[in-house]
């Protein structure tokens, strides 16, 4: 105790464990799969408030699908989902290593959170618009963006969809209905609501889905989104990815101590589903339910994806400074890839051998993609975008003052 530390009665939330401690998730209550009820989509919002405090689950401890939320989904689609998740994970691993070797300025993985994006993408229609944040690379993979295109963005090279302007991982893919990722947290959420309102305005039944981290829900934009979504009954799904951490701060600092993130919409009459985010089938089922609600003009839904950030925040982070090491191994909801794999094996639709060879295949695809991507240039080697791209797209047409500046820049 320092002598300048006064007596105080201010409450400061704390992470239950810190470096050196044994990981401890005993505070997390996991209800049985059967406890989850799946109400009709037109149920009045306040009659579903309990769902925000439960946990939508489909896979039980033996990896079997059961309960009311069990979705109808073909084995092939599940195998696709598994493949996408694996691809995301191996892609992440590869790119992370490349950053460590100095080939990339920055990288950010979604390890442990693959299902959150992949299952959602598979439950939505291709015309539905996605407003992600930076940890949903699974959406791109599931919607079929070639890995080489993702890599080109990370390299800011001549094939970069962003023309060298953004940090690695801040993808944009108009054709795939994937909105340009912002470096500023939370901004995409009211934008998604606006996109959804425009769809309704135009009288079509496309919907918008957006993702935001647990930490970022504290931004005003989240409130704007809830307000407008509620007032105009926008056909939108607001996904809160609660991976328990925001860089170094535990989710209690974001307000996770006194209520769930799924319940954040209750004050606006927006129902919330709290979902096991590492249960592929649960994410799929919850997304499908919310998408049906939205399409049926029954209003927006908040989905809290309860998951865990298995690794550091990004390549700039060192989680050993603020949380126990190997904590992911103790995470009670397991790993999404492993769980879906076991489920498929249990169904007789998959095998260890197939799994191994799939991993091999993806690994070589990733390497091949990177070899190709490098040919389009890297930050400091090979082909390079023209300097004029620095001045283009600030405006639709380059105004005089930027033309003059471009000329000056070209002159050196």
């Amino acid at each position: 105790m320092h002598h300048n530390r006064p007596e105080t009665r201010i409450h400061i939330p704390q992470s239950p464990t810190r470096p050196g401690d044994k990981p401890d998730f005993s505070h997390i209550k996991i209800p049985p799969v059967e406890a989850g009820r799946r109400p009709a989509i037109d149920t009045p919002a306040h009659e579903m408030d309990d769902l925000a405090f439960g946990l939508v689950r489909v896979l039980d401890d033996q990896h079997q699908a059961c309960g009311e939320w069990k979705p109808h989904i073909a084995a092939q689609k599940l195998r696709d989902g598994l493949r996408y998740m694996l691809q995301v994970r191996l892609f992440d691993d590869h790119m992370f290593r490349l950053q460590r070797q100095g080939s990339l300025t920055f990288y950010l993985k979604c390890a442990g959170e693959e299902a959150v994006a992949v299952a959602a993408a598979q439950a939505l229609r291709s015309g539905d618009m996605l407003f992600p944040t930076y940890r949903q690379q699974g959406l791109l993979v599931a919607r079929g963006l070639p890995m080489v295109d993702m890599m080109c963005e990370c390299l800011s090279n001549t094939h970069d969809m962003n023309k060298g302007r953004q940090l690695p991982v801040l993808y944009s893919w108009a054709e795939g209905g994937f909105f340009t990722i912002s470096g500023n947290l939370g901004t995409q959420v009211p934008q998604a609501v606006g996109w959804a309102m425009a769809a309704a305005y135009k009288n079509n039944d496309d919907i918008a889905a957006t993702w935001i981290g647990d930490g970022s829900t504290a931004e005003g934009d989240f409130h704007y989104a809830l307000t407008f979504a509620s007032v105009y009954k926008a056909p939108v799904i607001i996904n809160v990815v609660n991976n328990q951490w925001a860089i170094s701060t535990f989710q209690a600092v974001a307000g996770g101590e006194n209520s769930t993130f799924a319940s954040r919409g209750h004050g606006f009459g927006i129902p919330g589903l709290r979902v096991d985010g590492n249960d592929f089938l649960a994410v799929y089922a919850a997304t499908q339910w919310a998408a049906e609600r939205a399409r049926a003009q029954a209003g927006p839904t908040v989905i809290e994806l309860y998951t865990y950030r298995a690794e550091g925040h990004s390549t700039s982070d060192d989680p050993s400074k603020y949380r126990p090491s190997h904590d992911y191994d103790a995470w009670p909801l397991g790993d999404p890839v492993e769980r879906l794999k076991q489920h498929l094996i249990g169904l007789g639709e998959w095998s260890e051998a197939q799994h191994e060879s799939l991993i091999e295949k993806i690994r070589s695809d990733v390497s091949a993609a990177y070899a190709e991507a490098e040919q389009y240039g890297t930050l400091d080697k090979g082909p390079r975008l023209s300097l004029s791209t620095m001045f283009e797209d600030v405006y639709k047409d380059m105004p005089d003052h930027l033309q003059k500046q471009l000329k000056q820049a070209q002159e050196g």
Partner: protein
């Protein structure tokens, strides 16, 4: 042609824009059923429906964020911020999102918003109903910023803004919404029907964004200004009987610098006049550019006549407001210098 106030001209412009395309809509606080606290959208909801002239929650950041999403989905929202003083909660959506979308996405995404906001003082609105934030927008690349000084300009510039695929801040000098104000608060207000630019064609027309307007030809000094101050400038020059060229820049960014330098190269002297606070006001940028490009022509220091570096006070409104006498003194100093 019809006599219109600036409010009527703006209303007429929005009416034509809504008529022209079902993709265009209006949103903002009190703009719908009520028609706006300054009546700029009066009657439009009744004519086009509640979904095309939308009353929104009081959340400027939300309004802009939502409008961006609409813009990305093919609509062309005209957003009203009730007073320019209240745009700050929307700053992040404007700067980090709206202004950057096209750039950061390699040209894939953009949102053609026009954000209207009444600005300026002279209505005893106190510090939170009187601000002129144009310099803040000027520093944000990716935005265009426009400010009209007459009903004729307001309509033509607003229609051009709505048509523009870039995001646009459209500042409306509220002191001249309903009549010409020349800075003399003791004089009875004159209606726009007394002013040539209060004659407004009823049909659709646009004025080019990025083009200044030489309001008055002159030889001895160039007086650069915009918004309400155009009329203060005109009255001051008239009163002082000086041979001054008055230029209304009409667009803050992109600035029509060639017209400005052309004039200063002719006159050799320059005064810049605006209502916003002085330090880092847009006058500084104009001054810097003219100095850079006309250095060898300048026969006297460029002067800035501006609001003081204080909030806009209720009691001392008319001491804050840069009125005719301050303009005349500056013109005389500049003319006598050298």
């Amino acid at each position: 042609m019809a006599a219109m106030s600036m409010v009527q001209a703006l209303n007429n412009a929005m009416d034509l824009a809504l008529e022209k395309s079902p993709r265009t809509l209006i949103m903002g606080e009190d703009v719908g059923f009520f028609g706006g606290v300054f009546r700029c959208t009066e009657g439009l909801q009744q004519k086009y429906g509640a979904h095309r002239v939308i009353d929104t929650p009081i959340a400027e950041g939300g309004i802009v964020g939502v409008a961006i999403g609409m813009g990305v989905n093919g609509l062309r929202p005209i957003v009203e911020i009730q007073f320019a003083d209240y745009f700050y909660p929307a700053m992040d959506q404007i700067v980090s999102e709206l202004a950057r979308l096209r750039y950061r996405s390699g040209g894939e995404f953009w949102a053609p918003l026009t954000i209207r906001m009444p600005c300026g003082g002279g209505i005893y609105g106190g510090q939170t109903h009187s601000q002129s934030p144009e310099a803040l927008f000027a520093h944000v690349c990716g935005l265009k910023t426009v400010i009209p000084s007459t009903p004729y300009d307001a309509k033509g510039l607003l229609l051009a803004s709505i048509d523009d695929d870039n995001p646009l801040i459209f500042l409306e000098p509220k002191r001249i919404y309903n009549g010409v104000f020349d800075g003399d608060r003791d004089k009875a207000a004159t209606g726009w029907d007394q002013h040539p630019a209060g004659e407004v064609p009823e049909n659709y027309y646009t004025l080019p964004i990025g083009k200044a307007n030489i309001v008055r030809q002159g030889n001895d000094t160039t007086l650069i200004t915009y918004g309400t101050m155009v009329h203060v400038a005109a009255a001051a020059v008239e009163k002082a009987g000086l041979d001054v060229e008055i230029i209304d820049i009409r667009t803050i960014v992109p600035l029509d610098i060639d017209t400005l330098t052309g004039s200063v190269q002719k006159t050799g002297r320059c005064v810049i006049l605006h209502e916003a606070t002085r330090t880092s006001g847009f006058g500084a940028e104009i001054s810097a550019q003219i100095q850079e490009q006309c250095f060898w022509h300048l026969q006297a220091p460029i002067e800035r006549v501006t609001g003081w570096d204080t909030p806009y006070p209720h009691l001392f409104e008319w001491d804050y407001f840069p009125g005719q006498s301050r303009v005349i003194q500056a013109l005389q100093r500049v003319l006598e210098a050298g």
